[in-house]
Subunit: 249 residues, 2 copies
């Protein structure tokens, strides 16, 4: 019988739990060690570094996403399902979105997800580079959608760690935001209806997702050279980004 020893899987799982509870900046090796009932430095023997551990944890969670069977459902339902699952997963593990900005997360879990994503857009009828572009469009939308809630969660936790009265700090922060928003007509108008918005269920994600799938569907039925991008619309609206960096005095 081997000694009761740490395993890599066990560590990754504990890291995910800790990240869920404390966020990316709240997770540290000593806390992880305590959670595992061992010295913080014992972890290093198994995963090498904190960066690597986060990369490992950041790949593991992709396995939570179900891969819809393209033989039994149409591509659009499949795309909706995968995007919705991804959205839910990113909501559960909001640290992942933050990690995505700092680490190159690509392992078996994400590869499995990406591969099936490509399958969906191939099934839809896209060809060549358009498969990648369609998949990337939906993927980046879901990712971006999770970014602001992630910031909110991170911010709330930070307030909680600082003083005991997170309530007051949050209120102060909200008040400052309101003050700024009040100086812009359309933002001001939204302040008045903010309560109404808060009461309604937030279907912004589904609205955006379905609009994007509408757009992709339109692209499919539009006559275009196969196996090559259709640059017509993009050209019609092409715009060279205004180069307005800060002036250095």
């Amino acid at each position: 019988m081997p000694r009761d020893t740490l395993t890599r899987e066990q560590i990754v799982k504990a890291a995910i739990d800790l990240l869920d509870e404390e966020g990316l900046e709240g997770m540290n090796m000593r806390a992880l060690g305590k959670r595992l009932g061992s010295a913080a430095t014992a972890v290093y023997w198994h995963v090498g570094s904190k960066d690597n551990l986060i990369t490992l944890a950041g790949d593991e969670v992709w396995h939570q996403i179900a891969l819809p069977d393209l033989a039994t459902i149409d591509w659009r339902t499949a795309a909706t399902q995968m995007a919705t699952d991804l959205h839910a997963m990113l909501t559960r593990h909001s640290w992942l979105v933050q990690a995505f900005g700092s680490y190159m997360i690509f392992g078996p879990g994400k590869a499995r997800h990406d591969d099936h994503g490509y399958a969906i857009y191939e099934a839809a009828g896209f060809t060549g580079a358009q498969v990648d572009q369609a998949a990337a469009t939906v993927f980046t939308f879901v990712l971006g959608n999770a970014l602001v809630p992630a910031a909110a969660a991170s911010f709330t936790r930070k307030l909680g760690r600082d003083g005991g009265n997170a309530e007051a700090l949050m209120h102060e922060s909200m008040a400052k935001a309101h003050e700024i928003a009040a100086q812009f007509p359309r933002l001001r108008a939204r302040l008045d209806t903010a309560a109404e918005y808060a009461a309604a269920p937030d279907n912004t994600f589904q609205f955006g997702l379905q609009a994007i799938l509408d757009g992709l569907e339109a692209q499919l039925s539009a006559p275009s050279t196969p196996s090559e991008q259709n640059p017509r619309r993009a050209d019609r609206h092409y715009h060279e980004p205004s180069a307005t960096p800060l002036t250095t005095p």
Copy 2:
């Protein structure tokens, strides 16, 4: 004549420069102090904390985005222009995307941008909550789009800081990714055409943006109850996210 002293604007500008060069994790107060020719702690008198400084810097850069005149151009061109400008800005300041996941960035700069964004989608004909949803869809897409390049930049810098031979480490990392990708049919197929892809200009962003605007345009012409969301399509494809968290043994 007042003593040659630090100003908040000067500090924010220096912070932006430092963030551009060193990234979010490379930026620290002592380096900032050195760049400003003063002690690191002098900065604290002006901005209070590092978090606050990053919030300040993260708002300042939004002023680089031009606000198209809706009286002279159609909404779709305006939307394209603003999204493209934002994309370029986020590419210039890739740390901002990372900061967006950890800080609540909302100041005059972002408010100015958001306000004009709403104006565009109001001009397009959206009403009620749909204005917000349309704006959020495009916004989150652009944000998500900037996330992966931000990670790549961050990763590259990290390699550069670690050993001297960033080249070898990068190569090793790429090789590992290839090895994983090779186990999935569609990813494997893309490995073969990777060189071809790299040669072509990356118009993924414009493809996605135009597809999204197509979808929004379709939403406009679709018959729906005004001043209320149109839940029909979303309902037809509605999918309760699969709850498949990690099983705790």
